[in-house]
């Protein structure tokens, strides 16, 4: 398949660039998140490269989602959640940004498809734009088409944009959610197990979408499916009990991991 080749080629290119020149979109230092005093992740230091897909793997309860959600202030809603340490986006501490601005620039796609049930397909895609700042009607049409196209949904829905989003299948709803996220033009997109509620065909469509998105966006994906991590990502981070155990090129993680814990997990000998 062409995709695998391209990944290798691109990885090779990144490899040759000296460490200084690599562009990092997200960097965390000593990131610790606790819920009511109980630490969920502890001292996470990670640098995520621009225009790559980075997957986060690890057993349930290891803090993958907690880490992901700290990157766009999603813990702000949870009572008793405390975030310590620094998170930098484009070399700037996220506390220096406005919270809504961070959320706009760091989009998120959730585990269960969650389109707005009261809106039709079109309105779902433009919801983020309209409620941030007004835009002209003709601009909106263009954005809707582009976003749906990029999310791989345009061909299926172009004749029924005014139909309720709830009329779509689960997989289509998830791609609609991706389109909705793309419409506000973020730089980083976080995927929190985006395919775990979907069938294999929808999953492969979304994985295909991820591959195309890499050109424009930095992608971080949490997944329980190691094959998926191996298929879609350039870099993989292995979390265990709230710690970042190993973070390296995906191929390295799956073929010659440095840590014993990682090896046990990726080979299924875990526990």
């Amino acid at each position: 398949m062409e995709t695998a080749e391209e990944i290798t080629k691109e990885a090779a290119v990144i490899e040759t660039v000296s460490e200084e020149k690599v562009k990092y979109t997200v960097e965390t230092e000593g990131l610790t998140v606790s819920f009511k005093g109980r630490e969920a992740i502890n001292d996470i230091n990670i640098k995520i490269r621009a225009n790559t897909v980075t997957s986060i793997i690890g057993p349930s309860g290891c803090g993958k989602s907690t880490f992901l959600r700290s990157l766009n202030f999603m813990h702000d809603l949870t009572p008793g959640a405390k975030v310590k340490g620094t998170i930098k986006i484009h070399n700037k501490n996220i506390d220096e940004y406005d919270m809504t601005e961070v959320r706009r620039r760091v989009g998120m796609v959730f585990q269960k498809p969650n389109p707005f049930p009261t809106m039709n397909i079109y309105d779902n895609v433009v919801a983020g734009i309209i409620m941030n700042k007004g835009k002209k009607r003709n601009e909106l049409n263009e954005i809707v088409e582009q976003s749906l196209e990029l999310a791989g949904l345009w061909e299926e829905v172009k004749d029924r944009l005014k139909v309720s989003a709830m009329a779509l299948s689960g997989g289509q709803q998830q791609r609609l959610c991706i389109a909705r996220t793309l419409a506000v033009n973020p730089e980083i997109i976080l995927f929190d197990e985006p395919t775990s509620a979907l069938d294999p065909i929808s999953t492969s469509k979304i994985e295909e979408t991820l591959f195309h998105l890499k050109n424009k966006y930095t992608i971080v994906i949490v997944t329980h499916n190691m094959q998926q991590a191996a298929r879609v990502s350039d870099y993989t981070a292995y979390f265990f009990l709230g710690k970042l155990i190993e973070y390296a090129r995906t191929r390295t993680i799956f073929t010659s991991p440095r840590e014993k814990l990682t090896e046990d997990y990726v080979t299924g000998r875990f526990g």
Binding site: L77, F116, P117
Partner: protein, 290 residues
Amino acid sequence: MEDYYLKVSKGHTDRRKLKSRLMIILCYVAAAMAILPLLYIFFYTTMQGASSLNIDFFTELPKPVGESGGGMANAILGTLILVALGSVIGIPVGIFAGIYITEYSKSIFANVIKFVTDVLSGIPSIIIGIFAYGLIVIPMKSFSAYAGGFALGVLMIPTITRITEEMLKLVPHSLREAALALGIPRWKTTLRIVLRTAQSGIITGVLLAIARAAGETAPLLFTSFGNSFWSTSLDSPMASIPVQIFNYAISPYDEWHSKAWAGAFVLISLVFIVSLIVRLATRNKFSQTA
């Protein structure tokens, strides 16, 4: 062996089927007990009231004892004004309190409001009337539409608060997260995503609260009091259908009794129409089919 097994299992299933049928019958009986009184009230009121209903009833003022004819026009108008006044107070306060309780439930204050709302919904409506009497009628030294509307508004608050709270709770948390993750500010998320998703339920609740307030007599007895003449000024006593029904019903005159029935019929019809509008307006609004 096989025969034996079948025999036993057949007797067993028969018993279970019988039990199931019995339970279903009990459900039907319970449903009938709930619906029959309602139907009875509706038909009886219609039979008694519709006969003395005519155009005059809607256009004429009440006539003194002994004179035939006349209507309840001022009371119908009065009820509309009082309910409107009550809605102006009850709907915003109720809805915003409901939003506060669900969306900002972290604070202790929200729990206090929730508790107070529960207590308030259990207070007899006549107590609310006395409250409005003490708060508005005494300082103003006059019965007034303001006092009546205020009492109805206070009466509506707990119902609307609770239904708003329940409906907002039904909106999945993931929807709020989805909106916030798009960079939509929290207040806009609440108003334009969460509230909109819950809107049909909230509208239903609001209209039910209005319908209930329209039929309340006790809070109006010593607030808006009643009036035999046209009155549209809000700082003077105002007639209302329930109070007029009450006054007519306790009178010794047959003519007035039939007027009371007609009033009851109009009131029930109003509630019925409101409920019907709710049903039609919210039906299949967010249906899943294309």
